[in-house]
Amino acid sequence: MTATASADLAAPRTRLALFLLFAPALIWLLGLIVLPHVDLAALSLRARVAPRTYEFSFANYRTFIDEPLYWHTFVRTAAMSIIATACTLLIAFPTAWYIVKIARGQAKSMLLVLCLIPFWVSETVRTLGWMILLRESGVVPHFLVALGITAQPVELLYHDATILVGLVYTSLLFMIVPLANALESLDDALIEAAYDLGGNAWSILRQIVIPHAAPGIAAGSIVVFMLTLGNYLTPTLLGGKNSLWFTEQIYAQFITRFNWEQGAAFGFLLLMLSTAIVWLGLAVSGQRFGDVMRRA
């Protein structure tokens, strides 16, 4: 009774106030999200038959299927993104565990802040760091020669592994934070009880920790996958010409070749892939989208 009444009071009363609250949300969602994507879909479904004359066609999607380079790149991007997500999870989990469950007091909050710091700096700067470290004239090859491991400086850039390193590095924060949040809510007493009842590290991890952290794992993985799939900077700079990342194809069609219809089709394919995997991730982990995004 009281709740209803206070909600009434707190709610805006005049039509003008209501309009002022609804207008920005609708302009934003319709004008910047819904309509542009509808337009993109329409764009991808037409083909130019003569200057300034277009007709409905699946030609752009057919090009994607007929041209091995395109769909190879597409599959490769998806596969690399999945690998990168898995690597990120494997690397981030022990760290999140250490920060939440082993570190105490000051050290705990300090380590968490320390995780955040690199991500306050632009991805461009971080990638510059990796380039200085890994290129043939860079720091790591220099040390490999100095230590006598290699005779000549080796080029460490432009390999798939390099791209993975860069992608994992860029994604770590987006995995650590949801994992740490999920583990934080796991009561230590549960682990102590399991230990007391004779559980070993592996069984505790599998039967108690992972089920509890599942929402965090799902949230982190979905966000990391999505960001990796849509990444452009890291694959192009660390992978160079060999990177074959799908976002490059979109950029090439849109900006370099000015073939917007083809670019729109590629964009839509990427969006569908991303949405499908996000949906799949949610379905497998039994999570709801809203909850996951709030966690992330």
Binding site: S6, A7, W28, L128, M226, F254, S274, V278
Partner: protein
């Protein structure tokens, strides 16, 4: 396992080593960038040839950061774009938060979900969809009304719009989360003590929301400053810093980039410190 359970010396050493190497991995690229901003060589690479401040103030045959006009201009461009995105995102985010928390209407959960959608759309696609839609609108205006709408062509207004389109989702989440925890009887108490509706908003609700508004503003500024994917698709003739740096990195880096990067690191560290110092700000 956890701090309260016994761990063998070996486990302790192994987990310590793991975390140490994790943080080394995390900071190595940043340290390298910072160190080579001071190397006395024309190329940011080993060996170490001695300390110089040339890459900031300039030297013989070298243009330092403070004299690199295009780079400084791009820094300014980024700041202007980020300022616009911040103001728009916080304002619209606050309106959205009030809409979600204070108004009852049909389809609210759907709208709440739609507000999160931009976060799962890859940035490149946000960029191209807005680019294509804006140019269709511009074409339309040109063809039928005969007006040239310059701001719909690739350029800074489009960059602001593109970045805003997903950063506002984050601002909405942050502000709505705090508004949700607000005890509305405080507003009733203020009304009861004679405050007008506007007075309640000014003296009670907004001061309560302030940490979230500031936090959302800082995050919005930072995300805008760092954004690359969406910006790349929408940029016109005056590139923001990330796009400018990207272009130069492809050509082969000069240590000026290290210098500007170091500047960014210090600026973000100061911003982070300022935010963490604020009481109450960390709970979001």
């Amino acid at each position: 396992m956890i701090h309260s359970l016994p761990r063998s010396l070996l486990t302790r050493a192994a987990s310590g080593a793991y975390v140490a190497s994790f943080f080394a991995f995390l900071f190595l690229p940043l340290i390298v960038v910072a160190v080579f901003a001071f190397n006395d060589a024309n190329y940011p690479a080993p060996p170490w040839r001695g300390f110089t401040a040339d890459w900031f103030i300039g030297g013989v045959g070298r243009v330092g950061l403070f004299a690199d006009r295009p780079l400084l201009a791009s820094l300014g461009t980024s700041a202007i774009v980020a300022a616009w995105v911040t103001v728009l995102s916080v304002a619209v985010g606050a309106a959205n938060a009030f809409l979600l928390e204070r108004v009852r209407f049909r389809g609210k959960s759907l709208l709440a979900l739609a507000m999160l959608a931009p976060l799962v759309i890859p940035g490149v696609i946000l960029g191209i969809s807005i680019l294509a839609f804006a140019s269709r609108l511009a074409q339309f205006a040109d063809d039928f009304i005969g007006v040239e709408l310059e701001f719909l062509r690739p350029g800074l207004p489009l960059v602001v719009i593109g970045q805003f389109s997903y950063i506002v989702s984050i601002a909405t989440l942050m502000i709505a989360a705090r508004l949700k925890r607000f005890d509305t009887t405080l507003e009733e108490a203020a009304l009861n003590l004679g405050a007008s509706r506007a007075g309640v908003l000014r003296t009670i609700t907004l001061p309560y929301l302030q940490p979230a508004l500031v936090g959302a503003g800082a995050i919005a500024f930072l995300m805008s400053f760092e954004n690359f994917n969406t910006t790349l698709m929408l940029v016109g003739s005056d590139p923001p810093l990330t796009v400018m740096m990207y272009g130069r990195m492809r050509e082969g880096a000069s240590p000026v980039l290290n210098a500007v990067s170091l500047f960014l690191m210090i600026a973000s560290a100061l911003l982070a410190l300022a935010l963490l110092q604020r009481p109450d700000a960390r709970q979001d």
